[in-house]
Symmetry: C2
Subunit: 415 residues, 2 copies
C-alpha cells in the first residue's frame, strides 16, 4: 500500500474517534501539543537546520530561507497559536436548526466534523502546526503534505505532535504527514475520494491551480487575489490616499493587497500625480493606462497582461475610469472575486458597488487588507476561500465543519 | 466558440443582472413561466412525441419511456411546481451575520446567489423545469444539460420558458440548454471554471461518478444511497416490521430506500422468519448472510458484492449482527453516508447510533424514506447531497446560495 493511502486510512480511523470527543478533551490535547513544541524545540531547530542547509546548497532565495527558518521565538509563536485555538469556541455539536414535522418527526441539524482534511502547502513549517491545530479543534483528522523544502522540519514537528497526543484522548494518528516529496504523492491525494473529505491547498497559484484542476476530492480553493481599489470622484483625497497606500504597501506579498488602482478621471486630474509620487517614494513601481500616463508621464505603460497579474509585490497598475460602471466592468473582467474596495462619499455609488461587485469581501472606505480571519474576529484562519461553494472569504473554524440531520421518530413511515 | 462556452457566457452575463432582482421580480417571472407551460402544452407534447418515437425505435425500456412521457397532467404538475417555488421564501439578501469590529468596521455576511449553476441530468423532462425554477428563484443562471433521450422535449420546454421571460425583469438568457447530445459537451462543462460556479449531477451513479471524478468545477455530489435499517434487540416487533417494509417497498427505486437490513441476533431468532415472509409476499427478493440462512433457509446467499450494491429495486440484503458495534462497523464499511436508521427502545443505543453514524441523515425509529426536501418541510429539493462540503442531505433553496461580506468603513487601514 502506498504511503498516502496508508496514512489516509489511519487518519480516517482516527477521525471516527475524534468526532465524539468533548471540547475539553480536544483542548487538553492542543495544550499538550503546545507544551511539547516548546519542550522539543531544540530537536525541531536541528531538523530545521537540515532543511536550511539543503536550501542553501540548492540556491534557495534568502527570502524563502527566511520564511523556512525556525528559532525559539517562532516556535513559541507556533505554540501560542495552539493555545489560542484551544481558547476558541468549539462549533462541533451545535444545533443549527430544530423543528418538528406535522407527522411528529423531530429533525435536528447538527454541526459535525468534515472527517479527514487534506492540506497541501508550501514552505513555512508553521502551517503544519496551525493546520493541525485547527483541524483537531474541529474534530477532523488531517493529512498534511508540506513542501519538500521543509520536509525535515515538518517530520520532526509531526513526531513531536503525535508523541504529545499519546496519553490524551485524541488519537495520535489523527495527524499524518506525507514524507514522500515526490509530486506523485500529491497526485494520489487529489484522487483519494472516500478517504479524504476535502482538500485545502495553501500556497502559490500554481499549486492551487494544480489541485483545483486535477482533484476529484472536493476542494476549497484559496488564495489568488487580484484586488482593486476604486477611488470615486467624490472620494476624500486624504482617505483615498491612506487606503490606497495601505492596500498596496502594508504587506504587498499577501492575497488581499491591491494590484490595481482604479481612479475616477476627475479625481485623477486633481490628485493622481501627488498619490503617484507618494507611492513611488514608498518603493512602488507603477504601470498605467494611456490616460494615466497623460497625467503622470513618469508612469510606465501597463501591458494587457498587467491587469490580470497578481504581483504580490511593490508593483501597482493604475487605470483611469470615467464612471462607476467602468470600474464595475473592469473588476468583473479582471477581478478574482477576492476583495474589492470603493472609496467614495457618494452613498448610492457605495451601495451599487457593495451590491453589484461579486467578491468574497467588498469594502466601502476601508483597506482590502482587512480580509483576514483574525481581522474579522474569527480568532483563526485556515485560509481565504475564493470559491463560492461551502465557504467564501476568511475561513474560521465553522468552515472546517459539515452538518448532519438527526431525526427522532416513534415509528413514522412514509405514506 | 463551442455551444457550451457560448451558452455559459450568456448565462454568466445574465447572472450579473439576476443577482440584483427583487423577490417580486423573480416570482413574477416564475408565474409567467408556469402560465407559458400550460399555454404551450400542445407544442411541448408534440416535441415529446418525437423523443418517445426515437426511444421506441431504439428499444428504450417501457419504464424509461414512461418516465419520459409528457401529458397535460404532467405539464400541469410542472407548472404547479413553479408556482410552489414562487411561494417559497427567498433566501437571497438575508443578513446571516453582522458585527462591528473594535476599529469601527461594520461587517455584514449576506446571502447571495452562487452565480451560474450547471445541471447535468438524465431522462425526465420535469427536471428541466424544476431545476430552472429553483435556480432562478435563488438568483442563479442555469446551464442545463439533459439526457439525449429527452432532447426534443427539453428544447421546446426551454424555448417556452425563455419566451415567457421576455418582457419580465428576468433575462431570458438566464436559462440555457445544451443541445449537443454528444458526451463532449458534458466533458466541456466539467472543466468550465470561471464560467460555471458549481455543477450538480442528477441521475444514476455512473453519471454522478463521471462528474465527480472528472470535474474541475466544484461539484455537489448527489444520489448514491446504500441505506441500512438496524433492528436492535429491544425493537418493538410491530414498529420494526412497519419501518423495514416502508424503507424497502414504499418506493424502492429511490436513493433513500433501504438496501440492507441489519438485525440483532436475538430479535432475528424471534421475528426474522415472519418479517422475511411479509417482505417476500410484497415481492422483495432476499439475500442473506450465513446466520440469516440458518434461520430462514429459503433466503438466498448474499455475495460479497451484495453489501455494496445499490439495488434501487425489490431486492434486500439481510445480515444478522451480534450487537450495536457490529451494526456500526457494517455501516461504516458499506454505507454511503446517505440515510441510516436504528429501530430500538434502548435510549443509549439510539444516542450512540445517532452520534456515531456518519451520514447525512440518521434516524431513530423512523423510515429512511423521509430523507427528502419536501418531507423535511423545505418546500423544494434540488437533490440530496451525499458529500460533506457546502450542503449535506436534502438541499432546499439555501443550498443554491453563497455568501459575501460587505464591510463599511470610514477610512480604516490596517496597522
Amino acid at each position: 500500500m502506498s504511503e498516502v493511502r496508508e496514512k489516509a486510512l489511519l487518519a480516517k480511523e482516527a477521525s471516527a474517534k475524534l468526532a465524539s470527543l468533548t471540547t475539553g478533551q480536544k483542548n487538553t490535547a492542543l495544550l499538550r501539543m503546545a507544551e511539547a513544541l516548546i519542550a522539543e524545540q531544540e530537536s525541531i531547530i536541528e531538523a530545521n537546520a537540515k532543511d536550511l542547509k539543503r536550501g542553501q546548497e540548492s540556491g534557495t532565495s534568502s527570502s524563502l530561507l527566511d520564511r523556512l527558518a525556525l528559532n525559539p521565538e517562532r516556535i513559541a509563536g507556533m505554540a501560542e497559536g495552539l493555545r489560542q485555538i484551544a481558547e476558541l469556541t468549539d462549533p462541533i455539536g451545535d444545533t443549527l436548526e430544530s423543528f418538528v414535522r406535522p407527522n411528529g418527526l423531530r429533525v435536528e441539524k447538527i454541526r459535525v466534523p468534515l472527517g479527514v482534511i487534506g492540506i497541501i502547502y508550501e514552505a513555512r513549517p508553521n502551517v503544519t502546526v496551525d493546520a493541525a491545530g485547527l483541524c483537531l479543534k474541529t474534530g477532523n483528522a488531517v493529512v498534511l503534505r508540506g513542501g519538500s523544502s521543509a520536509l525535515s522540519s515538518n517530520e520532526r514537528i509531526v513526531e513531536v505532535l503525535q508523541a504529545a497526543l499519546t496519553g490524551t484522548d485524541l488519537p495520535p494518528m489523527a495527524v499524518q504527514l506525507i514524507s514522500n516529496p515526490d509530486r506523485s504523492s500529491v497526485d494520489e491525494m487529489l484522487k483519494l475520494n472516500g478517504l479524504l473529505d476535502v482538500l485545502i491547498p495553501r500556497g502559490g497559484s500554481s499549486l492551487i491551480q494544480t489541485v483545483v484542476q486535477n482533484a476529484s476530492v472536493p476542494v476549497i480553493e484559496t488564495g489568488a487575489g487580484i484586488c482593486h481599489t476604486f477611488v470615486d470622484e467624490s472620494a476624500k483625497p486624504d482617505m483615498a490616499e491612506k487606503i490606497a497606500i495601505n492596500a498596496k504597501v502594508q504587506r504587498p506579498s499577501v492575497c488581499n493587497s491591491m494590484e490595481t488602482l482604479l481612479v475616477h478621471s476627475h479625481f485623477a486630474e486633481l490628485h493622481l500625480a501627488a498619490l503617484a509620487d507618494k507611492l513611488t517614494a514608498l518603493g512602488v513601481q507603477l504601470y498605467g493606462c494611456p490616460d494615466t500616463r497623460k497625467l503622470v508621464p513618469a508612469i510606465q505603460t501597463a501591458s494587457e497582461e498587467a491587469w490580470d497579474t497578481e504581483y504580490n509585490d511593490y508593483i501597482l497598475n493604475v487605470k483611469i475610469v470615467r464612471h462607476l460602471d467602468d470600474a464595475l466592468a473592469h473588476i468583473r473582467t479582471h477581478g478574482t472575486m477576492h476583495s474589492e474596495c470603493i472609496v467614495t462619499e457618494n452613498e448610492s455609488h457605495a451601495q451599487r458597488f457593495l451590491h453589484e461587485v461579486d467578491a468574497a469581501a467588498v469594502y466601502h472606505n476601508a483597506s482590502t487588507r482587512f480580509t483576514d480571519g483574525f481581522e474579522f474576529g474569527f480568532g483563526a484562519e485556515i485560509g481565504i476561500s475564493t470559491q463560492k461553494l461551502h465557504a467564501r472569504g476568511p475561513m474560521g473554524l465553522p468552515a472546517l465543519t459539515s452538518t448532519k440531520y438527526r431525526i427522532y421518530g416513534d415509528g413514522q413511515i412514509r405514506e
